[in-house]
Amino acid sequence: MNARNVGFVYRKELTEWLRDRRTLISTVVIPLLAFPLMMVGFSALAIMLVGQAKKETPKVMILGGEDSPAVLEGLRKLDNLEIVPSTSNWKEMISNKEIRAAVAIPDGFQAALATGEAKTVLIYFYEGELKSSFGADRIEKFFKDYRDRVVRDRLAAKNLPETILKPFEVKQQNVAPPEKVGGAAFGGFIGYMVILLCMTGAMYPAIDLTAGEKERGTMETILSSPLARLDLVLGKFLLVLSASLATATLSVISMGSSFSILGKFHAFSGGQGADLHLQIGVKSAAAVFLMALPLAVLFSALLLTIALFAKSHKEAQSYLTPMTFAVVIPAVASLMPGIELSPKLAVIPILNTSLICKEIVGGTYHWNYIALIFLSTCVYAAAALFLATKMFQRESVLFRS
């Protein structure tokens, strides 16, 4: 191997890569803009829409209840509901969003309360429609409060304490620190994204530097130079690896910023801050990258090898698309509830890195697993790189027609 020549190839590939507008879009623009737009933009829109829906006074209809004047009076007094006169087409009106909900008060409801008979109040709404749910929730809250009052009155009448219905309380209490809670909730997602982006970042340059060169006729040009094929493949491989890591780095920075902005936005809008608490410290970020590094090597070498078989860009894309599934499936599997690291899973490529990233982001460092996963992925990466160098020696691959 001639390091000087590998450097020349890398520098030349980097120059060409940076001058390619498609590269800049896929490596820099998309990761930097897509996440903030996707996460902050959509969240802001969702919060705004929910806020608007909450502000609205829903129109509701009361069906029956003429013999229960106290209940009717109570409902009419609510200032967060607008009662509209009842009509026979109330179902249609709910479906057409003319009214948000309707409540059917059974005949003799008030009288039944006095005798202790339990009747059912039915609330009709449009499932999946946010404003309709808000209307139905307000009616339900009114009736639950009313029911609690009735219970309290009945207990008081018999001189019984309220604790007779609730002799003790039961509660769940979180003891994990907030960053671990955030890590458990989002850690898997971070690992998944880093893995996926390591691959997508490598895909375009891998195609361009192999099948693209064949298609443009520059492969024969470079093969006619005294450059050893090993130096050629190493220079190309380093560029693909750089692209892979650059995409993943920019994406994580972008994701981190988006989460931070989102957290602030959420806190500002009065949301429960705890469920959005995600802090990726420098240590965790460095550890995630260290674990992703051999995986990026593996992806870069594999993509380069597969794309080299193709004669054109288009053909290479058709070969590499199934590879996306091969990466996404184990990465997604790590997000499934209940899947935890085990010695067997620690040697399954992609899945192992995804699982360990989840732990790392959550602040847990299983050093044995970290070593096993890092080393096993290094072995797979070395094998893939060896395969790539062998493929570049094969005339049947380089000059496939």
Binding site: N5, F8, T15, R19, L223, S224, P226
Partner: protein
């Protein structure tokens, strides 16, 4: 000098089985001479030249190029060869100068020598006007000049041209033909393949007629004329190749 010694190249094809692209080709090309490899499409010209340029490895036989064995010392061979064909394209996103610099560095030139060589070649080929223009923005003629500069940057003693004028317009083709002639005048060993008879007649000191991977006839044009009793090279070519054609088709 180029000395081919029984060069053979066989490929495996899933449908057609073993293909004998080149079969026992031997010839010699001396410095200051142009050797023309004449043959129809698929005759084995490109495969022969690719083997001489060490882009492909021979299945059997070997060749000595500029004193080095193409099988044993392929990198040294490539360092002493300038290879040009219509298939050797330019990197679209590099400028003309960057393209030539890249190949100069890969050929081991130091920065001072590289600069001197580039200034000299760009001046001689009148390329200074588009030095910093990207290759994808160049005209066909300009691209050919950059390709020539790329092959010349390390001043190789051996030049290999594989159908260098294929698909080019008259003026660009003339530039290439002039360049090949100049290489001979500078004492380089030149081999080129073509199926254009007029180019062979104009340029070549020695002609090799290749068909179905075999070198069927060889010699200077006057000897071939005397041997086959024809003045026109096309007629000579048909006479050499004709019976084999019939035999294959029968």
């Amino acid at each position: 000098m180029i000395e081919a010694r029984g060069l053979c190249k066989r490929f495996q094809d899933k449908k057609r089985g073993e293909i004998r692209a080149v079969e026992g080709v031997s010839f010699r090309c001396l410095p200051g001479q142009i050797y023309g490899l004449l043959g129809a499409n698929g005759a084995g010209k490109t495969t022969t030249l690719r083997m001489l340029a060490t882009i492909l490895e021979p299945t059997d036989g070997t060749a000595i190029v500029a004193g080095y064995d193409i099988v044993e010392q392929s990198e040294k061979v490539r360092a002493n060869v300038g290879f040009l064909s219509t298939a050797t394209a330019l990197y679209p996103r590099l400028t003309a100068q960057e393209m030539v610099e890249y190949f100069g560095r890969l050929n081991g030139l130091d920065e001072a020598t590289l600069k001197r060589r580039i200034d000299e070649i760009f001046g001689r080929l009148d390329m200074d006007g588009f030095r910093d223009r990207r290759c994808d923005k160049l005209s066909t003629g300009m691209k050919q000049k950059v390709s020539i500069a790329r092959t010349l940057v390390h001043d190789p003693p051996v030049m290999i041209f594989d159908e260098p004028t294929l698909g080019l317009d008259v003026m660009t083709a003339r530039t290439i033909v002039e360049f090949i002639r100049e290489c001979r005048n500078r004492g380089k060993t030149v081999i080129f393949s073509t199926h254009v008879m007029s180019e062979v007649e104009k340029l070549c000191d020695n002609i090799g007629i290749i068909h179905d991977g075999k070198l069927l006839a060889e010699g200077p044009l006057r000897e071939l004329r005397a041997k086959y009793g024809e003045q026109d090279l096309e007629e000579i070519f048909v006479k050499v190749v004709g019976p084999h054609h019939v035999a294959v088709e029968a």
